[in-house]
Point group: C2
């Protein structure tokens, strides 16, 4: 039953995602109206370059004055797909002030300023939806915020950056080094010309902050997320992972401490067993594991980026925001009541794979083992390989606090018999 | 901010799922109140056997008069976890009439009478939620109803029955026959004493009807779902699947026809490639693939049954229904506006694996191939195996309508040189 007045949507940004949103709003107008209970119309499209041809976007809707579009009082929902902090933040503030609900795909802004955005939405009685900000088309935030609202989430572990997964997948399957795999990713359009945000883990860290906040009903800032990129992962690391039945993935990991009194959030490369469902996530796909008290282990898998998949998530939110406008309802607001502190990385407890270059002489293993024991880090397995008077020692530990492992490595570096620490990588997913 | 009056919940049924719901409502009362914005209290628990001890359920709340509990006008949300058609249907009707919203895990009732339940909810301005009815703890219905509300779903393909997946997994890993694997499933509590609903596919068919209706915004009744169980799957079928790089799964498959003018829903055993993500779903786990125009391929994975996982889904819905009561909002109602007809099984187009016992003499293959050609069913591969004057012929077809395949098999059965049709199985997931 479609009877109400048409709802008006302002589209802020018309790039890869925005142009798909505009296209789908036009081609799917009939379905959207039926699902919302009212017709929905594109009232304006703010762009930077008005001269560029945009298929399916009526030219008369295009404007370069995004602020004026956001300020229009006849707009029901503003869709922000510009990205970055400014002008996105100001435009969203303007839209809320003008009475609109906001749908955004902006992970950076949510991670930096989520609570302020929620407060604006609350103040103006509007909705804030941002499913597309994490893991593209994969329904993940709504399940966490709503489907699991009666459960206790203990852990979120996921591949949330497609570029780095593509690079690691190529290194794994072809034996290529990091540089070569990055070049391939760039050539195929999976990596941007400046890949820093992806390969240094900034993109994944923003998503980890958002996920941790939602999963644990607390506030986690981008600065709270421990971050290591994948630029130092070598072909040797991947071969070494393979020898122990593992593969290397760049993971975002959000955990509630065992005592329930703090949370942690981190992004770093890690080895995971080939038998773990995340190990078989190939190419630029994303997948997120969620562990909850009652639900057990859930996994969500799908395309983590791209214009159409991200637009699918934006439109799902747009339908929700529009339905609420029609019925006078409100979607869930911020849920940060647990106010759990974010513990430093040193308190994270996990396993480690450490590769050492050592002198090939008797007593080295015993000396190294003593250092681990001194720092209370228990060793699971050791593998020694000799070559030309040098030897390598690969140690895999049991679970230990990150601080204890760091102290162990510092002491190891000081030993005469240890020529170097070739690599340190965490082992997850067991 | 928790300020509103307490919300009252009637729990109708206190078996495996209900007792977990009661436990979680008590132990998680603080979290639930914070997430809902009002305290929530268990106002009554309807049971059949009041003498049974129920840990965590205050005895004074227990009643055998379910109808009276459902009729109480102070109840905000009724949770129905009795299962089956009656008395569940009457109790839900009573609860709606008394002004309550309803959360249910009742797949049989939803598949049989979903539209009537929705109509009651609509009439009384109440909510109807039933995430737990399909795939237990896995958030699946909310993502389909809400996250993908701006997309066009073309296909839902899933393992939605844990018992049969456990049986097939055991047959696959141990080489056991169906009877032996069923006995193991029964001994371990994965199969009920009367396993008919699971092994004959009734349970999965009810879920397929629900999924198809939601995915395609139409009405699909249980009777519309083509259903074949797994009782005729043999160890030979599984070995044969393995030889072509496949495994056998009992799948629920809902599809929109290529022309968009009809839908189909079916449950049957099928071969799927080992490389397909559903192939690695082991034991009693469930997983559902969703293919949508813009989102692409999504997968949802997790525990499909069990008291605590199902209770997690029920509580998620309970939080949603309670939030709506607090804010005066309504969740999404029925969306069946496309009114797409359900096409018969004969119109389903897929691939087939057919195993024939034939006479071991020249010309048989040519004769058999001619029958396929006569019915316009194109052959992909043929494998011949001779043994003691008899031979077996394994034919894998390209995509063809089910009716054409059935006619082909009928003709084959009439050939002198065909001693028997050992098995016919569809090949999916490519």
């Amino acid at each position: 039953m479609v009877s109400a007045r048409p709802l008006k949507v302002a589209l802020l940004g018309c790039g890869v995602v925005g142009s798909q949103v505009a296209r789908l709003m036009t081609t799917h107008a009939h379905d959207l109206a039926a699902r919302i209970g009212a017709p929905v119309e594109l009232a304006g499209v703010a762009v930077r370059r008005p001269d560029r041809l945009r298929e399916g976007v009526p030219p008369e809707l295009v404007t370069t004055d995004a602020a004026a579009l956001a300020a229009r009082e006849d707009i029901d929902v503003a869709v922000e797909v510009i990205g970055g902090i400014e002008p996105a933040r100001s435009l969203i503030a303007t839209a809320f002030e003008a009475g609109a609900s906001v749908v955004t795909a902006n992970k950076a802004l949510l991670a930096e300023d989520g609570p302020a955005l929620y407060a604006m939405a609350e103040k103006h009685g509007a909705d804030l939806y941002y499913e597309a900000a994490v893991a593209g088309a994969i329904p993940l935030l709504r399940p966490l915020r709503e489907s699991l609202a009666g459960d206790t989430v203990n852990r979120v572990l996921g591949i949330v950056n497609g570029t780095t997964n593509f690079i690691l997948d190529r290194m794994e399957t072809s034996g290529a080094g990091y540089g070569e795999a990055l070049a391939e990713a760039t050539a195929l359009g999976y990596a941007e010309a400046d890949p820093t945000a992806d390969v240094e883990g900034f993109d994944a860290a923003a998503k980890a902050a958002i996920l941790a906040g939602i999963a644990f009903h607390t506030r986690v800032r981008l600065d709270d997320v421990h971050r290591e990129g994948l630029t130092e992962v070598t072909a040797a690391d991947i071969a070494s992972a393979r020898r122990m039945g593992c593969t290397v993935k760049l993971l975002a990991i959000c955990e509630r401490a065992a005592d329930g009194r703090s949370v942690t959030a981190r992004v770093h490369p890690a080895m995971i067993p080939l038998t773990h469902p995340l190990a078989s996530v190939r190419e630029a796909y994303n997948a997120v594991f969620v562990e909850a008290d009652s639900a057990g282990r859930l996994m969500f898998y799908g395309p983590g980026a791209g214009g159409a998949p991200t637009a699918s998530a934006v439109l799902g939110d747009l339908v929700a925001a529009c339905r609420n406008k029609v019925t006078g309802a409100r979607g869930p607001g911020e849920s940060a009541y647990t106010q759990l502190p974010v513990a430093p990385m040193g308190e994270v407890v996990t396993r480690y794979h450490i590769s050492l270059d050592v002198a090939d002489k008797p007593g080295v293993l015993s000396q190294v083992a003593a250092v681990f024991a001194d720092h209370d880090v228990s060793i699971d397995t050791v593998r020694q390989q000799g070559k030309d008077g040098e030897a390598s020692l690969v140690v895999v530990t049991h679970r230990a606090p990150d601080a204890a492992l760091s102290a162990t490595v510092d002491t190891l570096r000081g030993l005469d018999t240890v020529r170097g620490v070739a690599s340190i990588m965490r082992v997850e997913g067991e």
